[in-house]
């Protein structure tokens, strides 16, 4: 269920759960076991290179927007609503990582900025660029 403005509502039972109206329960994989290499970013801002954003990898969502952010009182339970894609959970493998990605996503949402997002087959957000 969502409110009239499309944002997810907060349920009475504040558990580690999905935003209402989101994917099914099977959506959440064992995120604790999922990680990526501690590596520097590979892309550069679009204004720095016309080639930026052309990855040709289906897991990369390039030049898109974040149209919603959601979290509740559960630890590491932060979701973003990606335009034309829907709600995706920020990988909860690390506490600092979730805070950092939520901060970036909130900035992108507030300022309507282009983002590049890597969503893996586990439906978790593993990397987030904001331009």
């Amino acid at each position: 269920m969502t409110t009239s403005n499309g944002m997810p509502t907060i349920t009475d039972t504040q558990t580690d759960e999905l935003p209402e109206g989101g994917p099914s329960e099977g959506f959440i994989a064992d995120a604790e076991a999922v990680s990526v290499a501690d590596a520097p970013p590979e892309l550069i801002p679009p204004e720095e290179s016309a080639a930026a954003g052309e990855r040709g990898v289906t897991a990369w969502l390039t030049n898109t927007r974040i149209i919603g952010v959601w979290s509740n009182s559960s630890n590491k339970n932060s979701f973003i609503n990606i335009k034309d894609v829907g709600w995706r959970r920020l990988n909860p493998a690390g506490e600092n990582a979730v805070v950092a990605m939520t901060m970036l996503a909130s900035h992108a949402r507030a300022d309507d900025r282009n983002v590049t997002v890597r969503v893996e087959s586990d439906n978790l957000v593993h990397e987030l660029y904001v331009w």
Binding site: V34, S35, V36, A37, D38, A39, P40, P41, L43, I44, P45, E47, E48, L90, N91, A93, G94, E95, N96, A97, V99, A100, M101, M103, L104, H107, A110, D111, L124, V125, H126, E127, L128, Y129, V130, W131
Partner: protein, 75 residues
């Protein structure tokens, strides 16, 4: 190239974070990607907050760039 210097009057034009803890980066105009100091979680999050503000506002900032790591910020 590894260097230690103040980067003055630069803008944050990109931000990056991944699913790894203490792995946030900022793209400084004319400089490139620099890692946000990862000494502690609090340091990383407070500095990322300042860099996010600077990017959102388009404010030029000065940062101390130590071996490609941002260790001090004036915004």
């Amino acid at each position: 190239m590894t260097s230690t210097s103040w980067r003055r009057n630069v803008k944050v034009t990109g931000l990056y974070s991944s699913a790894n803890d203490l792995n946030s980066w900022a793209y400084l105009s004319g400089v490139g990607w620099r890692k946000v100091c990862d000494d502690t979680r609090t340091v990383s999050e407070t500095m990322l907050g300042q860099l996010t503000f600077a990017k959102s506002a388009g404010t030029p900032i000065s940062v101390f760039d130590a071996a490609n790591e941002i260790r001090e910020i004036y915004a």
